[in-house]
Symmetry: C2
Subunit: 367 residues, 2 copies
């Protein structure tokens, strides 16, 4: 994939971030979360492991720094032209201390710093670290048009691959073969690859919301839940369809119809200012009415962007209100242990006056 | 990929862990690192995101628990038969409190717990958390025969794919095409996929040790550094070769030969009881002698197992001594800015009386 040279939106994002920092009287903010790092700088490197970072941002009121090591310094300079690139050859803490100086409080992201790292920076390097009073990720909730275009492109690739799979898939394919068909097609269609581990769960496996695709063969008459999403220019997509080869049984039609109705009702409830939990409640009430309340054990949806799971969460307790520009999944499901399950997931943009489904495909059954 | 039913070594691993816990008088240990979780339980689920866990282990002197959510509970029960499976529907901290009770100190892995999570467990759930005085990952350094077999299998797949690429690769292929050829071939040969993001860096890009493969075309006469590794049954492999299509220039032959000589010397120095930094020093001295000390900017190597980077690190300062059964990379390099680079990486098992190279291929040049 070609690498972008800077990102036109980055300057405005940093301005917004500085305004929030100012409102909390923060003198400095250390960004270690990989998606926030990319969002606020344009630096595209990912973290190779949970315990290995490709860099951190230091945002001060008047200047921005990108601290990284020699492996990434050259590309960082190209991708994040508004940042002073600091090579952390002497250690991250030592470099931070050199810039921030003594005493000044430095806010950090408690969700993206390990206890070990926090201890090293505080005790060994003598930094005055404070947990940030706000999560910079909230600034990523409302997407700009470039971001929406990337998500739509990622979703389009996913739908094309799913459509081709649907045409080809025959009883006898293993779940793993179906998953690999999708993953490889994503890449051949220009995506970076899957944004998360593709789920293909057939028959009784389909009653496990996050089953790993295995050597189990897909059989005629089984519900097959496929949950996948390509990643494009850093942006994730996320879609779930439930397929069946052969003639569906009445119970299969029934739960499918209930899930689809719940989904359509929930999408109809989406608009700026509506609480996330109220959208969840619409779908959950419909499923409860059909007698399956206990069989819908997960949240209705979640935000999608640079991360496949991000704010806001559409769950039964989140009182946060939806805002224009948010992109969320709407994915109700019914899972009957030992029998099978149905989950259907659409990707929805919150618009000024309601919601726009970003999916272009029509891979739904009419039962 | 088929899922293993338990792992014969898990019981012995927990026994060793309990002995170390006892020596530190630990009453309980919480394991949150994904590789340690798998190693000590056999539970194969990975973590979907940096901030999302598929489960944690609680090791008490007399009993072991695997805490996970409804998405994984069924498979956890199959894969980790020696563990009591606890569904964390009420929250991880709440469940831990219910098992551990009041006051008892619970050790945790500071490298695998975020500040936010530590705060929730301590302040909200009232657990008495203490940073573990030892890192459970050190118990993974010495591999058993099953582990070595998995690594050798992963390495064999990688070498087969690399060999095929080497036969096919022509000037004009992009770096991204070469990387995708490897990644897809890994999977077709039975691996889970790449263990880390495949690096294909040609020409001046090859002077950046961790360049991302892009749309740049591979040209005749350019050094092409390829660093990749398939993953098999959870185990990583890691290999680097430097290729050139066409006739190499003298400077290219010279740095290639120096790197290969440094590698062979370092491998010759490997044996149980030798300090990691002394192995690094052997390679570094050879490269320095050729006048390229400044052009070898990274560590000589690292452990490989469930994680692609794990203990021990072969770097200039690590005084830790090598032990029998450790699997480490030996990967010296010389990088000339603006021109190109050479890195060569072998995977080496520390044996009772020295070292055994696990690689089977002969993709080295003789210059």
């Amino acid at each position: 994939m070609a690498m972008g040279i800077g990102s036109p939106g980055v300057g405005a994002r940093i301005d917004r971030l500085r305004k929030v920092m100012e409102s909390f009287r923060l003198e400095g903010l250390l960004i270690t979360g990989p998606e926030n790092r990319r969002y606020f700088s344009g630096f595209t490197a990912t973290d190779p492991m949970l315990t290995e970072s490709s860099g951190a941002l230091l945002i001060l009121p008047g200047k921005s720094y990108l601290l990284t090591d020699s492996r990434y310094a050259v590309i960082a300079g190209i991708e994040a032209p508004g940042f002073e690139i600091v090579n952390t050859v002497g250690g991250l803490g030592h470099c931070l201390k050199g810039i921030v100086g003594d005493g000044k409080a430095l806010a950090f992201e408690p969700n993206y710093m390990t206890v070990a790292q926090c201890r090293r920076l505080s005790e060994d390097d003598g930094l005055n670290l404070i947990a940030s009073p706000f999560d910079p990720s909230v600034l990523r909730i409302s997407k700009d048009s470039d971001e929406i275009n990337h998500i739509v492109k990622a979703l389009g690739i996913t739908e094309k691959a799913l459509g081709w799979l649907f045409e080809r898939l025959e009883p006898g394919w293993t779940e793993a073969e179906a998953a690999w068909y999708l993953d490889s097609t994503f890449r051949e269609l220009g995506a970076q690859g899957p944004a998360f581990e593709t789920i293909v769960a057939s028959g009784p496996q389909a009653a496990l919301p996050h089953a790993e695709p295995g050597e189990k063969k897909i059989m005629e008459g089984e519900l097959v839940v496929i949950d996948c999403g390509a990643r494009y220019k850093g942006y994730a997509s996320d879609i779930t369809r439930t397929f069946i080869k052969g003639e569906p049984a009445k119970w299969q039609r029934d739960i499918y119809r209930t899930v689809r109705e719940a989904q359509l009702k929930a999408i109809g409830a989406i608009a700026p200012g509506v609480a996330c939990k109220d959208v969840d409640a619409v779908a959950r009430a419909h499923i409860a009415q059909a007698g399956h309340f206990e069989r819908f054990g997960h949240s209705l949806g979640h935000g999608v962007g640079l991360a496949v799971h991000e704010f806001p969460s559409l769950n039964p307790v989140n009182g946060q209100k939806l805002v224009e520009g948010a992109v969320v999944t709407v994915e109700p499901g019914i899972y009957l242990p030992g029998q099978g399950g149905v989950r259907l997931e659409q990707l929805v943009l919150v618009t000024a006056d309601g919601a726009r489904v970003l999916n272009g495909d029509t891979h739904f059954y009419d039962f």
